[in-house]
């Protein structure tokens, strides 16, 4: 069942178009993450949904009815703010019960609901405290508790973890994921952190410059990015982009000659791309470092700049001969040193190809064919 639907939403601030033709649906119990770089309009989109900003154009539908003109207080949604926005003069219990008190619920019911939510979030001991007396993580929990208590149609989260330190962020991320399951809730979550998006989402909506770049499940976005922006945004470290020229195309024998000297054979490439410039994309984890015995066929050399040992894997930052920066994830324990030359290969079966407009041409076309 569709809980919420956006139809061609537009938002203008004066002459600036913050959001342009945004359409998507949120199914019941779905966890949708809006992700994008800062200034892409993701928070504005959330505020449009919440009713805190007016919709300039388009339709917002919640549970079947158009809510464009319904004020925020009557949309039946709950929101967790980045700054928590707890009422500083009220205790935790009062903070959490505000929604129910405004709705005029009986006192027993309010107490029961607050108690249940407090137990879920391990806030039982803190109910009598004021926000000032809580740590960042606890405040975050209260903010979530305030949302839970209201039993909203949809939960909205606006970068809820960005004020927490790294360890706490990880812990709260897990808790939010658990909560989503436990409550069977529908959630829309805004973040600029693609790791958060990947780990939490059923569906990710990637926004850039006020437009949707791609919508899909985390793995879909990772494996089949529609364009260079999504390919670069999803995955850490970022996908490597190598510029080059396509020599021939069609009849399954296309090749791209990269500026760094490497040639990569490509299969099933659109014949119209022959002779054009293009960019090859390859994820750091897919680049192969060739051992010495195999270096006779070594297609390219890279100069190691920085090596990060993370224990389970090693991230190598290197420069190709033409100066292009490259990051490589190496699962092997072989230790590389800065200044060393390594031979690398780009396996064509893991590569992506972006044309001059940044559109992916190798995999996405195959996918659309498969869908047909």
């Amino acid at each position: 069942m569709i809980k919420l639907e956006a139809q061609s939403l537009t938002k203008d601030f004066g002459s600036v178009r913050a959001l342009d033709d945004i359409s998507f649906t949120v199914a019941e119990r779905e966890f949708v993450v809006l992700v994008g770089p800062s200034g892409c309009g993701k928070s504005t989109l959330l505020r449009l949904i919440a009713g805190l900003e007016e919709i300039s154009n388009g339709k917002l539908i919640i549970e079947g009815s158009r809510v464009n003109d319904v004020p925020a207080s009557q949309r039946g949604l709950a929101m967790v703010f980045q700054s928590y926005a707890l009422y500083p003069h009220m205790t935790v219990e009062e903070n959490m019960s505000v929604g129910l008190r405004i709705a005029g619920k009986p006192k027993d019911e309010i107490r029961q609901k607050v108690k249940t939510a407090a137990q879920i979030l391990q806030l039982d001991e803190l109910l009598a405290r004021k926000p000032k007396q809580l740590s960042g993580g606890q405040r975050q929990r209260v903010a979530i508790g305030r949302a839970i208590v209201r039993d909203p149609t949809v939960f909205l989260f606006d970068e809820p973890l960005s004020n927490l330190d790294a360890a706490l962020r990880l812990q709260m991320r897990l808790e939010i994921a658990k909560l989503h399951k436990q409550l069977n809730a529908t959630m829309i979550y805004v973040t600029h952190d693609q790791v958060e998006a990947m780990t939490l989402a059923d569906k990710i909506i990637v926004l850039n410059n006020g437009k949707i770049e791609q919508t899909g499940s985390p793995l879909e976005l990772y494996r089949q990015p529609l364009n260079r922006f999504v390919a670069g945004f999803i995955g850490s470290p970022q996908m490597n982009f190598l510029d080059g020229r396509i020599t021939a195309a069609g009849d399954k024998k296309a090749t791209i000659n990269l500026d760094c000297g490497l040639s990569v054979p490509l299969e099933d490439l659109d014949a119209s791309l022959a002779g054009k410039r293009a960019t090859l994309g390859i994820r750091p984890e897919h680049i192969v470092i060739l051992s010495e015995e195999r270096q006779t066929v070594a297609p390219a050399c890279a100069n190691v700049q920085v090596v990060e040992h993370l224990g389970s894997q090693t991230i190598i930052y290197a420069n190709l001969e033409d100066g292009t920066a490259l990051s490589i994830i190496d699962d092997e324990t072989t230790e590389q040193c800065p200044g060393e030359l390594i031979a690398i290969d780009v396996p064509s079966n893991a590569a992506y190809l972006f044309d001059e407009n940044g559109i992916e041409r190798l995999r996405s076309s195959r996918i659309s064919e498969r869908k047909k």
Binding site: A85, Y87, I102
Partner: protein
């Protein structure tokens, strides 16, 4: 080298002590200047009139507490009551209406906000005396001349601009997310005004209340022009007619003056902490 250093440190320390002492002395002088008339007033109110003129600086020979009883019975009680009523109502109105206006200006979204704010601030420039004659006519026309309302309404009107200015400056520092969170909790603007903004603005509301109550209490021109009956006159005008009536009895007049000061003093003592906090809050981030 080290000696020169030590010397310099010593000298700067000495200078700091001198500066500190000088400042302290200045404060003491200022305090004496502002307090002395009050002490003189209280002492005079406890002397006989002849003693007051003959022995102006000394302590009273016999403490004349009876002066206060006389003053109270001569009509001060009546004036005091009028002043309390007028001050209390106008202060409550000013604080509530200004807070509501400030809330609207800060939180609500509507067209012409800047123009409305400019209009309210324009009231700061207008001297009350300018409005004396038109107000007199309006009050007569409304049929409230010579009633408490003839004072309460103008006091409120002239108090709102500054109070709105003061409260608004405080409210803009309350994160807007709080009212947004309240909206998400299902609250309308009135709820978040009463339950979030008013409680959080308590210090500045106290400041506004104090300033307004002093203004209403001490106001003279309107009180002189808009009421004439004895039982509506406020303390400022009351003291004037009192002075005429008691021309010979100066010490009783002094006692009356002391009585008229007490309420303001009490209000200030009760609210001063919040008052100073409210005025300076946000001055330094």
């Amino acid at each position: 080298m080290a000696q020169a250093m030590a010397h310099r440190v010593q000298r700067s320390r000495r200078r700091a002590i001198v500066n500190h002492g000088g400042l302290l002395l200045l404060f003491w002088i200022l305090t004496a200047i502002s307090i002395y008339p009050l002490i003189w007033l209280v002492l005079s109110s406890l002397k006989t009139s002849s003693e007051m003129f003959g022995n102006s600086w000394a302590f009273p020979e016999v403490w004349q507490w009876d002066n206060y009883v006389q003053a109270w019975n001569a009509g001060i009680s009546r004036y005091l009551l009028s002043s309390v009523i007028v001050t209390l109502i106008s202060t409550l109105l000013v604080v509530y209406l200004s807070a509501a206006a400030a809330y609207a200006l800060v939180v609500l979204r509507f067209r012409g906000k800047a123009a409305i704010y400019a209009l309210i601030l324009g009231g700061l420039i207008l001297p009350p005396e300018v409005a004396l004659f038109p107000l007199f006519q309006t009050l007569t026309w409304l049929g409230i001349y010579n009633t408490y309302w003839a004072l309460i309404i103008p006091y409120t009107a002239f108090g709102i601009p500054f109070a709105t200015f003061l409260i608004r400056a405080y409210m803009v520092k309350i994160p807007i997310e709080l009212s947004e969170a309240a909206a998400m909790d299902g609250a309308g603007p009135l709820w978040s005004f009463r339950n979030i903004y008013l409680p959080l603005c308590r210090p500045v509301l106290a400041s506004a209340a104090l300033i307004q109550s002093m203004r209403s209490w001490n106001e003279f021109i309107f009180a002189l022009s808009f009421v004439e009956s004895e039982n509506v006159k406020t303390i400022t005008i009351g003291m004037m007619s009192f002075a005429n009536a008691l021309r010979s009895d100066w010490s009783v007049l002094m006692a009356g003056l002391v009585i008229s000061i007490i309420p303001v003093l009490l209000v200030f003592i009760v609210l001063q902490r919040q008052f100073i906090g409210g005025l300076t809050q946000g001055a330094v981030k």
